[in-house]
Amino acid sequence: MKRLFTRPSAVVAGLAAAALVLAGCSSSGGSQEEEAALDTPTYKIAMVTHGVAGDTFWDIVRKGAEAAATKSNIDFQYSAADETGEQATLVDNAIDQGVDGIALTLAKPDALKGVVKRANEAGIPVVAFNSGIEDWEEVGAMSYYGTDEHLAGTAFGKRLNDEGAKHALCVIQEQGHVALEARCQSLKESFDGKTTKVYVNGSDMTSVQSTLQAKLQSDSSIDYVVTLGAPFALTALGSAKSAGSDAKVATFDTNEQLVNKIKDGSVQFAVDQQPFLQGYLSIDAFWLYLSNGNFAGGSKEPVLTGPAFIDDSNIDDIAKFAANGTR
Amino acid sequence: MSDSTKPILELTDVGKSFGNIHALRDVSLSVRAGEVTCILGDNGAGKSTMIKIISGLYQHDTGSYHVCGEPMNCSSPRDALDCGIATVYQDLALVPLLPVWRNFFLGSELTIGPWPFRRLDVAAMRRIADDELQKMGIKVPDIDQPVDTLSGGQRQVVAIARAIHFGAKVLILDEPTAALGVKQSGVVLKYISAAREAGLGVIFITHNPHHAYLVGDHFVILRQGTLDLSSPRAELTLDDLTHHMAGGAELDALKHELKRIDAPDVGAVHEKHEQEIGS
């Protein structure tokens, strides 16, 4: 048995090592190339989000941030943890590294107050983005880029009124997520029809598929499925078909495939908070601040990146950029 | 049980070491058909190393190992089984939750049908297992019951019957009576003698000279990896065996020494002690 296994194991180890090396190369290559590009002073900026690894939304945020970093000769570090405790540890880590600035999502503001204070004491400016529009000032961030979930939810609800919807199903892919709950809640408040909430397991698409199918079968009055993330809208289309439901699908946030679905008319519209812009602005803010002392929003007002509607009226313009994975 | 029959299994000056430790040195052993060879010895005397060499788990370093006159190159228990050497370990190599018949045929299942439809011949396996057990004189209430619902003695017998059925020429029993009470031990000893009558060579490992003497034809005592005694039954009494087992010559020397030194010393201590109390 020993003899038999020696060779495959060597091959396997080699393959695994090759895969790791290749994966490692691609992530470090970007920033190394950037450094030589400009001769303005190099800043090191860390971005710490609560994004789930592998979510297309956060990928676009990251691309925006990387675009800004390349343009402004910034040494950019991205890290993410969906547990608040881990996110705080990552911020601590950035502080210990002595970065020049930290861009942070405040999904759970109270839990991150401590680390933001520590960063400020260490003389590191902090920019909040994406989540925490209510609390960023109090927590101690110098500016905020993002949308207001309530604003977005309210706009969505009004749009549903215009569309003549009667019964909306709000699909939440992560239970207990403040921003997602806020979207559904605000939608419910501004929408004149009935709003029903359903939780799905966002990390298992087949389970999302069957849960939505079950929901649509059990209540045939649902005429609009509202998903809170682009991939779920795509799955909802399949669920509606399987359940024999005529419900239309609209969503918060977008990605490349979703833009195509809006184009071919199967998804009605999307409310976009422009993740690329969030990532870009929150990195660019440091360059402006560190090199020229500028504050966007005067450190008093949040800078809104949404809500922006994407529908058949403007889809052609957006589709071009979506193909690059940046919208 | 004559000495003239050719041994079916023969170790000559076999040695095995692990690093600096000589687990076994220059040990010779012959096992003949229809004979029970008892291997006795304390813990760490090299009994288990010896069984593992015989059953193919270990390779010996020095000496030779012949089966039926052929040099033995067992590199796995499977090879040893194919050579007709079956070992019944202390844990019996039974899988507790499996039914009796599945255990009986484990690793040597009977199948019917062409691949990929080759399947277990359940009916035949159940019938044969039941027959073989009846031949050994035990009747299992239900051949489908898990093995762990049998008594300790019954389980031993299942393991022995299995070895015999699969054409074992040499049956190695590793301390089969160690965990059993008197009555259950008696049951197992009966089957050992039944196996001998069936013409098998039996190697019976034990540290109980009384059990060994009840069934043994040839006795081997191991001490610190070397052969301390190798004697046919004819040249040995139970007392000799017990004596050897308990330490033999070493024990005599110790006894002598203790007699010489201890008696006066103990007395002196006592007297002194008494005086102290008295004063």
């Binding site: 695994a16 994966a23 239970q175 298992d204 399949g238 | 399947r119 009747k139 003695g153 009966k190």
Partner: protein, 360 residues
């Protein structure tokens, strides 16, 4: 001559069957058919399944529709196909925590091979199968080689795959989801195999349900009627004993890990051809669902005991609980609570049935 001098021995005839040596009491006779049935590992879970079904049948009106049954079966099948492999592995005495992300690894691999190399979908699927089997082999090989608990080995594999899924997808596609492949050669035929629907009596049923039944039947046959099945039980029940009687325990275990990997490939392909694109962060947490299905179905956590049918019933319970809560329209905030509570009831009932059966 030796015989003449040795002390008299009892004639070596074996004792007669009537004496029943070893002290088996004569009162233990043939076990009754009912009791035999009740001690089967899957019976407790069957009672649990019936209870859960009855519960939702009573409280949720839409649950009574055949369409709903089809949805429940679909949800159960995606858990159940994996549970087939996972239960076999657990019977063989090992765990696989990398099974959840393994599904996504396979789907991502299939999507990326097809798109990036412009391959026919079937070729890409075959390459993805290779990737999956390699992961399974690596899991098994490391477990038998290091003799470390499979819990640790596959936990490491789980975390590594989670990272590789993301990193390689990003590196290859520049995005975190696999590219859409729905317009490529062979997609339509692959979709027919892995993710199509057929109609029985006006009800649309996902093909995964059929595959699930097929895999369960196959696994049951292998377990109960083949050599390999015997080896699987033995490897999990007592690996040392099995090894001593010549069972190739290491090969069996590696084979089991590769079986799980095969199932992961299958479910991965279903994901790929159902949704045409796969997000690289999915799959996390599902490994516990698969293990739960196996355990609810009567697989022992320590190995050596269980059936594939039991695991299928476990998957059905989980599928019914997940969808039943939705059909019942219970407060969505308590969604997870209801699933947990349903499970708890099913598991306790399961144990109660088993204990009663043994005591009787």
């Amino acid at each position: 001559m030796a015989t003449t001098k040795s002390p008299p021995r009892k004639p070596a005839s074996p004792p007669s069957p009537e004496t029943v040596p070893g002290g088996t009491p004569a009162r233990v006779t043939q076990r009754s058919l009912a009791r035999r049935f009740a001690t089967r590992p899957e019976v407790g879970s069957l009672v649990g399944a019936v209870a859960v079904f009855a519960l939702f049948f009573t409280v949720a009106v839409p649950f009574r529709e055949f369409d709903s049954l089809s949805t429940v079966l679909y949800a159960s099948s995606t858990i159940g196909i994996m549970a087939v492999g996972v239960s076999l592995l657990m019977i063989g005495g090992e765990f696989d925590l990398s099974a959840g992300v393994g599904v996504i690894t396979s789907a991502l691999a299939g999507g990326m091979f097809a798109y990036e190399l412009s391959l026919n979908i079937w070729v890409a699927a075959a390459l993805a199968l290779g990737v999956s089997l390699l992961i399974g082999f690596l899991n098994g090989y490391l477990v038998v080689k290091t003799k470390l608990p499979s819990f640790l080995i596959t936990l490491s594999m789980f975390l590594m795959l989670q990272g590789l899924n993301l990193a390689i997808t990003r590196w290859v596609t520049g995005s975190v989801a696999s590219p859409t492949i729905s317009d490529m050669d062979g997609y339509a035929s692959a979709q027919k195999v892995f993710s199509s629907t057929f109609t029985i009596g006006g009800v649309n049923v996902q093909i995964t349900v059929l595959w699930w039944i097929l895999f369960v039947a196959l696994a049951t046959w292998v377990l109960l009627r083949t050599k390999v099945g015997n080896w699987i039980y033995a490897a999990g029940g007592n690996a040392d004993s099995a090894r001593a009687v010549g069972v190739p325990v290491n090969y069996t275990k590696i084979g089991l890990f590769m079986t799980v990997a095969f199932m992961a490939w299958f479910v991965g392909m279903h994901n790929l051809f159902r949704f045409s694109t796969v997000q690289s962060g999915e799959g996390v947490g599902n490994e516990l669902i698969y293990i739960a299905a196996a355990v609810i179905g009567g697989c022992a956590l320590m190995g050596g005991w269980g059936t594939a049918i039991g695991a299928a019933i476990g998957a059905l319970i989980l599928g019914m609980a997940q969808q039943g809560v939705v059909y019942a329209g219970w407060n969505p905030d308590l969604f997870m609570f209801f699933i947990g509570a349903t499970l708890l009831v099913a598991v306790v009932l399961n144990m109660w049935v088993r204990l009663r059966a043994q005591r009787r």
